[in-house]
């Protein structure tokens, strides 16, 4: 344990843990090509590409996908605005109730999704708000704020306050400072927060089941298929596509946050 090399036992345990995390997802990719229609037979009796064509021609999949993308885009935008404002306020100044604001932002993901879901649902029914894209957005934006907030707060903390003061001392007004100093400094953090928020919203199902009414986002479509399977091979293909679609923002976020430990003005 005190050497620089890991013991064999630790290596095996860590590798086994990682395999446990990845093999099930890898399995999805194999099943997308199976010729078997009625069951989840393993090993697949044969391989085919025809289910990709079948999925391509399914309007319900496209509609669900379009709704999911739309909801994720609007929620991400809202979350980016609200999260950044909140992060700016909390990290720049100390004020009464600062701790409660942080708590308020974290609460929607700290509490189980089912609580958020039923709370919103009952509020909609009390206020007689009919279900629409906007009721879904309302829920999603609420728990996406924290993702943007966390990323922005961390970056604001690392951005030195003296940079802003220097900009103002040199004659820039608040808006010029925002445009030329603050935004360039926090831009990658915002993009990363936005990407992660997008991935979260695109994938969310628990709150959505309460706020969607009869509408189908892609996760709700998947859930329907899981509870009442209609065409299993199509579900396999959609599952694979969903993995690929959510992978992109994650890889992008990773790429952008690599080596951001060193930010201008840090350490002052």
């Amino acid at each position: 344990m005190h050497s620089d090399r890991a013991s064999l036992k630790l290596k095996i345990a860590a590798a086994a843990g990682l395999l446990f995390l990845h093999l099930p997802i890898a399995l999805i990719f194999v099943y997308a090509f199976t010729t078997e229609e009625k069951s989840f037979q393993w090993p697949p009796p044969g391989y085919t590409l025809k289910w990709f064509a079948a999925t391509w021609n399914r309007p319900d999949v496209w509609e669900a996908m379009a709704l999911s993308l739309k909801v994720a885009a609007i929620s991400t935008l809202l979350a980016m605005i609200l999260g950044t404002l909140c992060a700016a306020a909390v990290s720049r100044t100390k004020f009464f109730g600062r701790e409660s604001i942080s708590l308020l932002v974290i609460l929607p993901i700290a509490l189980p999704g089912v609580v958020t879901g039923i709370a919103l649902r009952s509020a909609f029914s009390i206020a007689e708000v009919p279900f629409s894209t906007w009721t879904i957005v309302l829920g999603h934006a609420t728990f996406c704020v924290v993702i943007v907030y966390n990323n922005a707060v961390a970056r604001f903390r690392r951005t030195s306050g003296s940079l802003i003061e220097a900009s103002m001392d040199l004659g820039a007004n608040l808006f010029q400072t925002l445009r030329h100093v603050i935004l360039p400094n926090i831009a990658t953090a915002l993009v990363v927060g936005g990407m992660l928020a997008f991935a979260l919203s695109f994938d969310e199902v628990i709150v959505t089941t309460f706020t969607a009414g009869q509408q189908q986002t892609l996760p709700i479509w998947m859930l329907e298929e899981l509870v009442r399977p209609r065409e299993r091979p199509v579900t396999n293909v959609v599952a694979m596509v969903v993995v690929l679609v959510t992978l992109l923002p994650i890889l992008g976020a990773y790429y952008l946050t690599r080596g951001t430990e060193a930010v201008a003005g840090q350490g002052k």
Binding site: F40, T93, L111, A119, A123, E165, D169, F175, V242, V243
Partner: protein
């Protein structure tokens, strides 16, 4: 910030006079700036989120008339009392029990991954480990559940592996066990347990890794130099230092298991969990007060849990 008092507008052109004036005002009055920054998020979260939560809480104090199916708007604790009927209390006990063993199992599986990633993974391996944890964390929740439906199905890969190893008898014997067994893995509580552990595992790895990264390697070496066996070092040095991380992770695994209603619906027996009870009571049964009361249960449990976790210093590891 207080030393320099020259007007920031000195070099601004006359064309952007209004912007400059607004900027000056905001700079001179930080409270006003703070107010402008805070109002939109505070309004959004305060009205939409807290308002909804409050409305929910209020409903849990109403009751339903079992004959007419209408909600009786008189404040009463009768709905909460209903939680303690044997059938309902069973649901709560089952969910809390599941959340507990899922949390324990996640901690055991997560620890070696986190320890390796924090202490030994360097360079490209480190990046690989990071992505290796982040990708499953962010992969679609439903796809992950679906993958396990494929794995645990009677004709699926797990049965195939057991057949290949000539261990089918072992699987059958296990499934024949009461309480944890069932017709096949996909309709047994063991299946539910496996999927929960799988889906929440990354939430456990990350905080433990963060806590372990703060443990200096020299401390472990000192322990070894002073004659401790690796097991003793683990027990008396590493584990106490990693505990806040474990507790931070357990907040996620515990809370997420408490509130989930999709995994037990797709994989497992027909016995309900809290989340399913909430969903069913508000949906088909239309018993919003009881659904609300059920929803308060995880809030209360998590409140107590967070309070204990805070006292043990878990939040520093987040």
């Amino acid at each position: 910030m207080t030393v320099v008092q020259t007007t920031p507008s000195a070099q601004a052109g006359p064309s952007d006079g209004l912007l400059t004036r607004v900027s000056d005002t905001l700079w001179r009055r930080p409270t006003l700036l703070l107010l402008i920054l805070l109002t939109p998020p505070a309004l959004w979260l305060g009205i939409i989120y807290l308002g909804s939560l409050f409305a929910l809480l209020l409903q849990s104090f109403f009751s339903i008339d079992h004959f007419t199916g209408l909600i009786n708007h008189e404040v009463t604790l009768a709905t909460y009392a209903e939680l303690f009927t044997p059938a309902n209390f069973d649901i709560i006990r089952r969910t809390v029990g599941m959340a507990t063993i899922v949390t324990l199992a996640s901690a055991v599986i997560a620890f070696p991954i986190a320890y390796y990633a924090a202490r030994y993974a360097k360079g490209a391996w480190r990046a690989l480990f990071y992505l290796g944890i982040m990708m499953p964390l962010w992969s679609s929740y439903l796809v992950k559940v679906y993958a396990w439906k494929l794995i645990l199905a009677k004709e699926g890969i797990l049965t195939w592996i057991f057949e290949g190893l000539h261990l089918t008898w072992l699987l059958d014997a296990y499934l024949a066990l009461p309480v944890i067994g069932g017709n096949s893995l996909s309709v047994s509580p063991t299946g539910t347990f496996l999927v929960f552990v799988y889906v929440w595992l990354p939430y456990m790895v990350l905080p433990i890794q963060a806590a372990l990264e703060r443990v200096p390697g020299s401390m472990l070496e000192a322990s070894g130099d002073l004659g401790a066996t690796p097991a003793q070092t683990f027990r008396h040095v590493l584990l106490p230092l990693a505990l806040p991380g474990v507790i931070a992770g357990s907040i996620f695994t515990f809370s997420l298991t408490l509130g989930d209603y999709i995994i037990p619906q797709i994989i497992g027996t027909s016995r309900l969990f809290i989340g399913q009870a909430v969903y069913q009571h508000q949906g088909i049964a239309g018993n919003i007060p009881l659904a609300a009361a059920f929803a308060v249960v995880p809030i209360v449990i998590m409140g107590v849990y967070l309070w204990i976790a805070k006292r043990m210093g878990a939040f520093d590891a987040l």
